[in-house]
């Protein structure tokens, strides 16, 4: 047996499983997005661009010649992108100082702090989402405390709003921001900071001119790692958002359920995938020069 044959033999099980259960179904979805919907779900084997058309556009109910933007879809697309970006932003604001804090601990205690960040991450998604529910529901921790303190008389409605979705996603995805940031910051030589201060930089300028640019690869990686699951979120908006606070993931589910429009669901899935790919491309373009530079250093 040659080395190449042995290699492919070792790879065969993984390739077979992934081809059948990961890559294959995606191709099926791509094909379905170009077919006509079946009457009770499913598809009819006839080529059609209707599904892709209705991702962004709609025809007037009375006069099919009139084409207008699909307001409902656009609103959901916008909410998904906007919530994913807001989640990323919140994660940056909280994750950056956290990662820096960990990276500047003495070597021995760093692993412990990192461990503390990872524990919630590996905790079941539903457990964490449920925990957020417990905190923000009308009779939850925050409202109970505020009412007992006499700050408010009536509970503030937080659960089942966009705000709840944002809080939930930021909570769930925060470790994805902290870990790559930490990895980048850990490489930063402390003497560079001292050099900046020695060269007349205030603490703030030291942060802006040295810490921030040197953490950039981690910042970009973290942002992509948060943005991708956030834009495709399905559980969090389902549990924390209200019935009208749909995100793209929920819209996709709808097409395969009550909507009974599989081609549209497939087209929306491909749209979501395209958004993810755009984020990945942004990441690759942003990180490439840095990785090259780091390899030399």
């Amino acid at each position: 047996m040659t080395a190449a044959q042995r290699r492919w033999l070792l790879l065969a099980p993984a390739v077979a499983i992934l081809a059948c259960v990961a890559a294959g179904p995606l191709l099926v979805m791509l094909v379905y997005s170009f077919l006509e919907p079946g009457e009770f779900g499913g598809v009819r084997p006839a080529f059609s661009l209707d599904a892709w058309f209705s991702v962004l556009f709609a025809r007037d109910m009375f006069d099919p010649e009139i084409v207008e933007p699909n307001i409902a879809h656009l609103a959901i697309l916008w909410r998904s992108v906007s919530l994913a970006l807001q989640t990323t932003l919140v994660c940056i604001v909280l994750g950056f100082p956290t990662a820096w804090f960990i990276a500047t601990r003495p070597r021995g205690t760093r692993e412990l702090w990192l461990f503390l960040v990872t524990i919630p991450f590996w905790t079941n998604l539903l457990v964490r989402t449920f925990a957020i529910q417990e905190v923000i529901r009308n009779r939850g921790l925050v409202n109970t405390l505020l009412m007992q303190a006499g700050v408010i008389d009536e509970p503030i409605q937080m659960l089942y709003t966009d705000f709840a979705v944002l809080v939930g996603m930021a909570y769930v995805f925060l470790p994805l921001m902290v870990l790559p940031l930490y990895a980048a910051m850990e490489r930063v030589d402390r003497r560079l900071l001292e050099a900046a201060r020695d060269l007349y930089a205030s603490r703030w300028r030291m942060f802006r001119e040295v810490v921030l640019p040197l953490s950039r690869p981690g910042l970009v990686a973290g942002s992509v790692l948060v943005f991708i699951p956030a834009i495709g979120a399905w559980v969090t908006p389902r549990l924390l958002g209200g019935g009208r606070n749909l995100m793209l993931g929920n819209l996709i589910e709808l097409q395969f359920g009550q909507g009974r429009n599989w081609p549209l669901g497939a087209a929306l899935s491909m749209t979501l995938l395209a958004l993810v790919l755009v984020a990945l491309l942004v990441y690759l373009r942003a990180v490439d020069p840095d990785t090259r530079r780091r390899d030399h250093g």
């Binding site: 030589d189 003497r191 560079l192 001292e194 050099a195 900046a196 201060r197 020695d198 060269l199 007349y200 930089a201 205030s202 300028r205 001119e209 040295v210 640019p213 040197l214 530079r293 030399h296 250093g297």
Partner: protein, 362 residues
């Protein structure tokens, strides 16, 4: 370099304690020091002697536990590193990896609010000074070690600091490059007239570069003198052994007068020696005397006052370093001419001329 220039750096009672309670370490213990304007001043000592801590306290990178730092007569003890007119060349350079050579050199100027055109002119001037005009756009990691070293120097010199601090800047270079950079450093200092405080554990480097050297040990300063002064007139055995080669002999002090002493050597012969200041020994005491290898004369057996056996002969190109064992067991280092015939095991006669021995305080 006139001696009446006011001190650029004045340090008084400077103390730095790390940790607290039972684990407290006095890295720097009540140090007083004056560095004159335009001087190349070196802090020399083994690792852990407090020299780097002292430098960091001058830079403002650390706060002293007690004591004051004055620069140009101004008390800067409470000021951060960004408010002190000093710049540092860091060990391993600490060049900003995300900035070009030009941006590295211009960093301090940018923080000081210089205009773009002023900055460009100054950066160009500095690049010319370090003779790296062609590399302005490079990133630091595309430079050789020696080039990085020069950029670090230029970056620290660009804002025209009153004092340039150098923290073992040459330790990362190989021997040949280190020699070159020593010359380069001297040239830069001559051209810029900047006061330099230089930290090193390498005594050759300290002697070669400095106007004055402070020898440090365990957080204290043992002696401050010119390189020649340190070599010829070390204050105590610790300084003598740290700066240059030295051998130590137990001798009997016979008489003292005017900084001169008469001593009896182990073999019984009597020679005149120099008496170091601060000693309290009197006639009749057993004292330690120091001698430099090049003052020891080696000849045929029976040729001198002492008899010894050659234990090791190391040819060093031009001279041979001999390790001798006197008959009473004392080790003595000597330096003999080009390639003498002595092999380990050979018997030799040793002469210590008048004035070669230096009686050290106990």
């Amino acid at each position: 370099m006139t001696t009446d220039t006011p001190a650029t750096v004045r340090v008084a009672g400077l103390t730095r304690v790390f940790g607290d309670g039972g684990h407290a370490v006095r890295a720097l213990d009540n140090v007083d020091l004056q560095v004159k304007g335009g001087e190349f001043f070196t802090l020399l000592g083994p690792s852990g002697c407090g020299k780097s801590t002292l430098l960091r306290l001058l830079a403002g990178l650390e706060r002293p536990t007690a004591g004051t730092v004055h620069i140009d007569g101004r008390d800067v003890t409470a000021l951060g590193p960004d408010r002190r007119p000093v710049n540092t060349v860091f060990q391993q350079y600490a060049l900003f990896p995300h900035l070009s050579v030009a941006d590295n050199i211009g960093f301090g100027l940018r923080m000081l609010g210089w205009s773009r055109s002023d900055r460009a002119a100054r950066v160009y001037e500095m690049l010319a000074l370090i003779q790296l005009e062609g590399l302005a756009a490079r990133r630091p990691d595309a430079l050789s070690g020696g080039q990085q070293q020069r950029v670090a120097l230029a970056r620290a010199l660009a804002p025209a600091p009153r004092v340039l601090l150098l923290d073992e800047p040459l330790s990362a270079l190989d021997v040949k490059l280190r020699r070159e950079m020593q010359d380069e450093l001297k040239r830069l200092q001559r051209e810029t007239h900047v006061t330099c405080v230089f930290v090193t554990h390498d005594q050759d480097e300290a002697l070669a570069l400095s106007d004055r050297v402070a020898v440090m040990r365990e957080g204290r300063i043992c002696q401050v003198d010119t390189p020649a002064g340190l070599y010829e007139a070390p204050a105590d055995a610790a300084v003598a052994s740290f700066v240059g080669d030295a051998s130590f002999l137990e001798v009997e002090l016979l008489d003292t007068a005017d900084g001169q002493a008469t001593v009896r050597l182990p073999g019984g012969s009597v020679v005149r020696a120099v008496l170091a200041a601060g000693g309290t020994a009197r006639g009749g005491d057993r004292v330690t005397a120091m001698v430099r290898p090049e003052r020891v004369q080696v000849g045929a057996p029976g040729d001198g006052a002492l008899e010894a056996t050659v234990e090791e002969a190391r040819y060093e190109g031009g001279t041979t370093r001999l390790r001798l064992c006197l008959d009473d067991g004392t080790t003595l280092f000597a330096r003999a001419g080009a390639a003498p015939a002595w092999q380990p095991g050979a018997r030799v006669g040793v002469t210590l001329p008048d004035g070669a021995l230096r009686v050290l305080p106990a």
